[in-house]
C-alpha cells in the first residue's frame, strides 16, 4: 500500500487540533499585551506575521515600552530563540533532501508546538514517507490560529481601559511558559540562578543582566546535571 502525501498532510492537520486550544489563548494574550504595551495595532499585527514567536513579541513589547534600545531587544530575542537552533538540528535528518523553499518555509513555521508534534511523529513512525507534508499539516493550523488570535487580541486590547493593568499579562505569560519547563533539578537550578542573577545585576546598563543571567543559568544547569549524574564523585 502506498501512502499519499495528502494522507500524511491530513494526519498532521488532525494532530495539531488539540494544540490549537493552547495556541489560541496564548495568541490572544500576546495580542492584548502588545496593544496594552503601546505597540500600534498595524505594527502589532505585522509583527505577528514577520516574527511569529510569542515570547519574542512579548519581550519586545516590554523592552520597547521601557525605552530600551533596539540592540537590547535583539540580544534578548537572540537568547529567547536559541532553542530553535536545537529544534532545527534535531529535525534536519527527517527533512533532508527537500527543495530550498520547503526547508525555508517549514523553518519559518517551526514553532515550539509544531516541533513537538513533528518530532513525536517522526520518532514513532521513522519510516513514514512524505514527512515534510506531515510537518506542513501540523504547522499551518497553528500559524493561522496564531494570526487570528493575535489580531483579535490587538483589537480587544486597544479598547481595554488602563485600570485593568493588562500590561501585567506579559510577565505572567513568561511565568506560564517557563514554570512548566522546570521538570528536573537541573532546570530548576538554571531558572533560579538566572532569576537571582538578573535581579542582582539590575543596576548594569543595557540590560547586561539578561546576558549574565543566561550564562549563570546555563552554568548552574550543567553543574547540577553533572552533580546528579555521578553522585559518587567527591
Amino acid at each position: 500500500v502506498t501512502i499519499e502525501p495528502n494522507a500524511v498532510f491530513r494526519a498532521g492537520l488532525r494532530a495539531s487540533t488539540p494544540v490549537l486550544l493552547g495556541v489560541f489563548p496564548f495568541g490572544l494574550v500576546t495580542g492584548v499585551a502588545m496593544a496594552a504595551g503601546g505597540i500600534p495595532p498595524a505594527e502589532a499585527i505585522l509583527m505577528s506575521i514577520i516574527v511569529f514567536a510569542g515570547a519574542s513579541q512579548l519581550a519586545a513589547t516590554q523592552l520597547l515600552g521601557s525605552y530600551a534600545p533596539v540592540a537590547v531587544v535583539l540580544v534578548t530575542a537572540f537568547f529567547i530563540n536559541l532553542r530553535f537552533v536545537m529544534y532545527s538540528a534535531s529535525m534536519r535528518s527527517h527533512l533532508a533532501g527537500l527543495p530550498f523553499r520547503w526547508r525555508l518555509g517549514l523553518g519559518y513555521m517551526l514553532s515550539d508546538n509544531a516541533y513537538a508534534l513533528c518530532i513525536t511523529r517522526y520518532t514513532q513512525h521513522p519510516e513514514e514517507p512524505h514527512k515534510h507534508w506531515y510537518c506542513l499539516g501540523a504547522c499551518l493550523p497553528i500559524w493561522v490560529t496564531w494570526q487570528f488570535a493575535t489580531i483579535l487580541g490587538v483589537v480587544a486590547g486597544a479598547s481595554v481601559p488602563h485600570s485593568w493593568r493588562l500590561e501585567f499579562a506579559a510577565p505572567l505569560a513568561f511565568v506560564a511558559m517557563s514554570v512548566p519547563l522546570l521538570r528536573d533539578r537541573a532546570m530548576v537550578a538554571a531558572a533560579l540562578a538566572a532569576g537571582i542573577t538578573v535581579v542582582l545585576a539590575s543596576g548594569l546598563p543595557m540590560r547586561l543582566g539578561l546576558v549574565l543571567a543566561a550564562v549563570a543559568g546555563i552554568c548552574a544547569g550543567l553543574l547540577s546535571e553533572r552533580a546528579s549524574s555521578n553522585p559518587a564523585s567527591p
Binding site: 489563548p25 505597540i39 505594527e43 509583527m47 514577520i50 516574527v51 511569529f52 514567536a53 515570547a55 519581550a59 519586545a60 516590554q62 520597547l64 525605552y67 533596539v70 535583539l74 534578548t76 530575542a77 537568547f79 529567547i80 530563540n81 536559541l82 532553542r83 537552533v85 536545537m86 529544534y87 538540528a89 529535525m91 534536519r92 533532508a96 526547508r103 525555508l104 517549514l106 523553518g107 519559518y108 517551526l110 493593568r165 501585567f168 499579562a169 505572567l172 505569560a173 513568561f174 511565568v175 506560564a176 511558559m177 517557563s178 512548566p180 519547563l181 532546570m187 538554571a190 542573577t197 543582566g209 539578561l210 543566561a214 549563570a216 543559568g217 546555563i218 548552574a220 544547569g221 550543567l222
Partner: protein, 116 residues
Amino acid sequence: MSLASIWLAMLGMGVLTLAFRSSFLLLPERIGLPPLLRRALRFVPAAVLTAIYAPELLVQSGTGAGLGGHERLLAGIVAIGVAWRYRRTFLTIGAGMLALHLFIQLGARLAVWSVP
C-alpha cells in the same frame, strides 16, 4: 517608544527568528552541534524566560503604603504556584491578573486603615 524602533526591532527579530529556526535545515549535513553546546542549549529557555519576568515582578507600584507596593511580586508568586501545579497557560495568566487586582484592593484598604 518610537515607530522607527518598533520597525527595526520587528525586522531584526524576524530575520533572527527565521535564521535560527531554519538554521540546520539549510546548513550542509556535515556541520553539527557539538555535544556540550547541545546540553547547554537545553537550559536556555528556562534561564532566559525566568530572567525576563523576574525584574518585572519587582517593579514597585503605587505609594508604597499598604502592601508596600509589592502587589506585582505577590501576584507573581500566586501565578508561579498555579503554573507549577496546573501547567496551564490561560489559568496561570488569569490567576495572576485576579491576584494582582485583589492585592491592589487589599493594599488600598490597608493604606486607609494605617492612616493615623
